[in-house]
Symmetry: C2
């Protein structure tokens, strides 16, 4: 019997989510000509504690040198490899509204691995237009584009109403990873990975914290009245 292959050399989800930030910090250090870095310095650059950084890196292997630190270039390579960025990931973007255009343009900035090979829309008026050096193709050509370039990641930048249909079409072509910018849940078969990015959710989380901060200040004000006016700056700590 084969034992639990799905969690092979399991790197915790929380760690995976931080690896891109470490990689970005290391890239910035490389650009500044820094060749070696301690966990304390790198952690500060990435906005985490050094204990957390070392714990995270320990899941990938032993790439540091005790008493010295980490070789910036080597550590960057190992993180990139762990994330799969040493491979090629052809991407299609569906939906060429403002958001789709922004994503297509932005793709030029992405370091490593990701390559936008197809832009699709179902509006005939957009088909054929050149965006970021690619001609927009019609949704009906999705299967052709996908197989032509062995597309592995699909990005949905359509309105919510079309998102599920687009997702189904992406999955039909064999795509197993979907990034969804539409404000809706997608249902996908087992074996397909989806992530959602939603402006509205992010704003709502910010609003929650802002509101709590306001209520805290109000409560502290009342408490301060009782216990004499002792706190001149009533703005509470965030998060």
């Amino acid at each position: 019997m084969v034992a639990d292959l799905t969690s092979r050399r399991g790197v915790p989800d929380a760690t995976v989510a931080r690896l891109p930030e470490y990689l970005r910090a290391l890239t910035a250090l490389t650009e500044r000509g820094v060749t070696s870095v301690s966990s304390e310095e790198l952690a500060a650059a990435a906005g985490v504690s050094s204990a957390k950084l070392r714990k995270d890196l320990s899941h990938l292997g032993s790439y540091g040198v005790r008493g010295v630190g980490y070789d910036v270039e080597h550590l960057a390579y190992e993180i990139a490899r762990e994330l799969g960025l040493t491979q090629d990931w052809p991407v299609v973007i569906v939906g060429m509204g403002n958001l789709g255009r922004a994503l297509a343009d932005y793709s030029g900035f992405i370091k490593g691995g990701f390559r936008v090979v197809g832009l699709l829309d179902r509006d005939p008026a957009l088909v054929g237009q050149d965006i970021a050096g690619l001609a927009v193709r019609h949704m009906d050509d999705l299967a052709a584009v996908a197989s032509e370039h062995s597309v592995s990641i699909g990005v949905i930048a359509t309105p919510a109403a079309s998102a599920q249909d687009v997702c189904d079409a992406l999955v039909d072509t064999g795509i197993r990873a979907v990034l969804n910018f539409a404000p809706c849940m997608l249902s996908v078969p087992d074996g397909v990975d989806t992530r959602r990015v939603d402006l509205s959710t992010e704003l709502q989380i910010l609003a929650f914290h802002s509101q709590r901060r306001m209520l805290d200040v109000a409560a502290e004000g009342v408490a301060g009245d009782e216990a004499a006016a002792s706190a001149p700056t009533p703005v509470g700590a965030a998060r």
Copy 2:
């Protein structure tokens, strides 16, 4: 001595992050004319387990009826209130490239609370242009716009190189909540809350899972050879 006012009626972060999804699911139910829902049904619509949903809701209060379920409209109201969406949150967006335009347009779709009152850019060619019904103003007018509308949330949609300067300017006007779409860390004083949305990070997390899935399939293939060809569909479960 005043006891721990900052975590007043603390709702866990993990719960707060899911409230927007519950609210979206409830809104969809309202639109379909559904007036009552069980934790089981709502959980399915939001893509979580019913145990998790009930636990999350229990942090807000007791808004359900045993044996019956939840009143859709009432629960939606309570979640909206908890998130602060019953208040008005004036928002400015800085950076009117494709992404900034997309965000400005998208704002029309946002339910409750958020109101885009200012669009800013430092490019004179863009200043004065009409986007989504608002005239773009110059960055130099930020302080005026912010005080005019009591702006509480700032959105950064500029390139990474300008993001920190923009953030400092936002904080200077008294803004205490910042949503950052630029691919960089921001440093802010205590009491300022920031969140970051980054395409590149999301793609990298997808790539990690895709790569692991490929490696798992490969490993299973080898193991399958040893233990006889018993698994006809070698695609492993995602996440």
